[in-house]
C-alpha cells in the first residue's frame, strides 16, 4: 500500500489532506483494526484539538480512538460512514471521516510525511 505523498500523517495513524482539510485513518490502521463496523463521528461545528480524541472507530474485534492531527473546527462529516463504515476498509485513503477548518495551518508541517510515516509503520510492525 502506498501512502499519498500529498497527505500528512500522525503516529496515531490518522492522515490529513491539508488542501481539502480532510481527515481519515491510514491503510495500516484499517488493516490492524479489521472489519470496521462503527464510526463515532463528531458534530459539525464542534472543535477539535491537535493530539486530542475527536471520535472513535470500532471494528468487530476492537475500538480505537481517533486523534485530531490539527486544531480547528469541524465543517463537515462523512455521513456515508454512518451506514457504510466498511468504506474505510475498502479504501482508507479516500474514505475521509471529517473536514476541518484549521486554526493554524502551519500545524500541518509538524506532521509526518508519507515517507516518514511508512518508515514509522515498518518499525512499529517489527
Amino acid at each position: 500500500m502506498t501512502y499519498p505523498a500529498t497527505y500528512r500523517y500522525t503516529k496515531e495513524h490518522e492522515w490529513i489532506d491539508a488542501t481539502a482539510g480532510k481527515v481519515g485513518i491510514t491503510d495500516y490502521a484499517q488493516n490492524t483494526l479489521g472489519d470496521i463496523v462503527f464510526v463515532d463521528l463528531p458534530k459539525v461545528g464542534s472543535k477539535v484539538e491537535k493530539g486530542k480524541v475527536f471520535g472513535s472507530v470500532e471494528s468487530v474485534k476492537a475500538v480505537s480512538d481517533l486523534y485530531s492531527p490539527v486544531t480547528g473546527t469541524v465543517v463537515e462529516v462523512n455521513e456515508e460512514l454512518a451506514t457504510a463504515p466498511e468504506k474505510i476498509n475498502t479504501d482508507a485513503h479516500t474514505a475521509w471521516i471529517l473536514k476541518v477548518e484549521m486554526t493554524d495551518p502551519s500545524e500541518v508541517d509538524q506532521l509526518l510525511s508519507a515517507a516518514d510515516y511508512e518508515k514509522f509503520v515498518k518499525e512499529e510492525t517489527h
Binding site: D35, V37, F38, V60
Partner: protein, 359 residues
C-alpha cells in the same frame, strides 16, 4: 499474531466477518492445538473424574463426549472441560490453554492419590483441528472412509484421515454450528499436510482458515461460556447458568456441597444474561452495566458486533431483578450510557438437523 496462553495465534486470517460467515454458511478450519489434553487411565479413572467433574461421567457410553466443568470447593470455576470416554479405563479431558498448568495441578492435587488411575498431560502430543460449518461433513468426507454421518453430536470415533490412522474424530465444536474436531499427532509435517488437504477439500464450499477472532464471535452468538469471561474462579455455577450440565443433588463432586448450601439459602444474587444493544454502541468485555439512570448494577463479560445477526450483542452479569427478557438496562460505553435490553440466549441457534448435545 497474539499471545494466547503462551501460543502465537492469529486473531484473523482473511477478516473476522468473512471467517465467521464461512462457518455459518459453509465451512471454516481452526487450528485449536492450544487446547489442553489430559488423559486418565486405569480402573480408577471414572471415580477420579466423578470427583472432579460436575457432570455425570458414569452416563457416558464408549465413544461419547460430555460438556462439564471442574469447580473449586466454593462452587466457582477452575475451568470448563470436555470429557471423552475412550473405554471404562481410559478417558480424555480437553481443557483450556490458558488454564492448562493450573488445571493439571488442580487435578493432581485433588485426585492424584486416588487408587488405580494414572493421569498424564498429553497436550503437546496432539494437533487439534476444528472443521466447523454446515459443509464440514462434506469437506471431511473427502479425506476419510469413516462414516461421518454415523457420528452423532457429542460422539466420536477413530478413523483414518488423510492417511493418518487412529485419528480421533469428534462431532464437537465451539461455534454453535455442526462440525468436527480431529486430534492428530503433533508433528509439524503431518499437521501442515492435513491442514492443507482440508483447505483443499473445502475449497468448493468456500472454506476459510479461521482465527481466534471468529472463534470468539461464533461462540458468543451461540452464548457458549469462555473461561476468564463468563466463568472464572469468581463466578459460581448458578450465576453462570450452567447447572443443567451438572449432577448436583444426584452425586457428590468438588464444589457440590457449597452449591447445595447456596441453593438452600436462596440461590445466586446475579445471573448471566444476553444483551442486545438498542441504541448505537458496542458493549465490550468489562464495560459496566447500569440502570437506566446510571447506577452501576453489573458488568459485561463478552461483547461484540454479531457478524451473522448484524446486531451488537453481549453477555453480562446483572442482578436477579433485571434478568427478565425485555428488561432495559444501560451499558456504559466510553463514558456514555447506551441503552440495551435483556434477550434470551443463545443469540443464534442453528437449524436442527440432528440430535442435541448430551447434557
Amino acid at each position: 499474531m497474539v499471545d494466547f496462553g503462551g501460543w502465537d495465534m492469529p486473531v484473523e486470517y482473511s477478516g473476522i466477518t468473512a471467517e465467521h460467515m464461512a462457518v455459518r454458511t459453509g465451512v471454516g478450519l481452526f487450528d485449536v492445538s492450544h487446547m489442553g489434553d489430559i488423559q486418565f487411565r486405569g480402573p480408577g479413572s471414572l471415580a477420579a473424574i466423578q470427583a472432579l467433574s460436575m457432570n455425570d461421567a458414569s452416563r457416558l457410553a464408549m465413544g461419547q463426549a460430555q460438556y462439564s466443568a471442574m469447580l473449586y470447593p466454593q462452587g466457582t470455576f477452575v475451568d470448563d472441560i470436555l470429557v471423552h470416554k475412550f473405554s471404562d479405563n481410559d478417558y480424555l479431558l480437553v481443557i483450556n490453554a490458558g488454564t492448562r498448568e493450573k488445571d493439571y495441578q488442580w487435578i493432581r492435587s485433588q485426585v492424584g492419590s486416588f487408587a488405580g488411575v494414572h493421569i498424564s498431560d498429553y497436550s503437546d502430543h496432539y494437533t487439534q483441528l476444528a472443521i466447523q460449518g454446515p459443509r464440514a461433513q462434506e469437506t471431511l468426507a473427502k479425506l476419510t472412509k469413516t462414516d461421518l454421518g454415523a457420528i452423532k453430536n457429542y460422539w466420536f470415533t477413530w478413523g483414518t484421515i488423510c492417511g493418518v490412522p487412529n485419528t480421533l474424530i469428534a462431532r464437537t465444536g465451539y461455534t454453535g454450528e455442526d462440525g468436527f474436531e480431529i486430534y492428530l499427532p503433533s508433528d509439524e509435517p503431518t499437521s501442515t499436510r492435513v491442514w492443507n488437504e482440508i483447505m483443499g477439500a473445502g475449497e468448493e464450499f468456500g472454506i476459510l482458515a479461521c482465527g481466534l477472532g471468529a472463534r470468539n464471535t461464533l461462540r458468543l452468538e451461540a452464548a457458549m461460556s469462555l473461561y476468564g469471561h463468563e466463568i472464572s474462579e469468581d463466578v459460581n455455577l448458578f450465576e453462570a447458568g450452567l447447572e443443567r450440565f451438572s449432577k448436583l443433588g444426584k452425586s457428590d463432586f468438588v464444589g457440590s456441597q457449597a452449591l447445595l448450601h447456596l441453593q438452600q439459602s436462596g440461590g445466586p444474587k446475579r445471573k448471566l444474561v444476553g444483551l442486545e444493544m438498542i441504541d448505537r454502541g458496542i458493549a465490550r468485555d468489562g464495560y459496566k452495566v447500569c440502570s437506566l439512570d446510571g447506577k452501576e448494577v453489573g458488568y459485561v463479560t463478552s461483547g461484540s458486533p454479531s457478524p451473522y445477526l448484524k446486531k451488537n450483542i453481549a453477555l453480562a452479569y446483572v442482578p436477579l431483578d433485571r434478568t427478565a427478557p425485555g428488561t432495559e438496562v444501560a451499558v456504559e460505553v466510553r463514558g456514555n450510557l447506551v441503552k440495551a435490553k435483556v434477550v434470551p440466549t443463545p443469540f443464534y441457534r442453528r437449524a436442527k438437523k440432528q440430535a442435541t448435545p448430551v447434557k
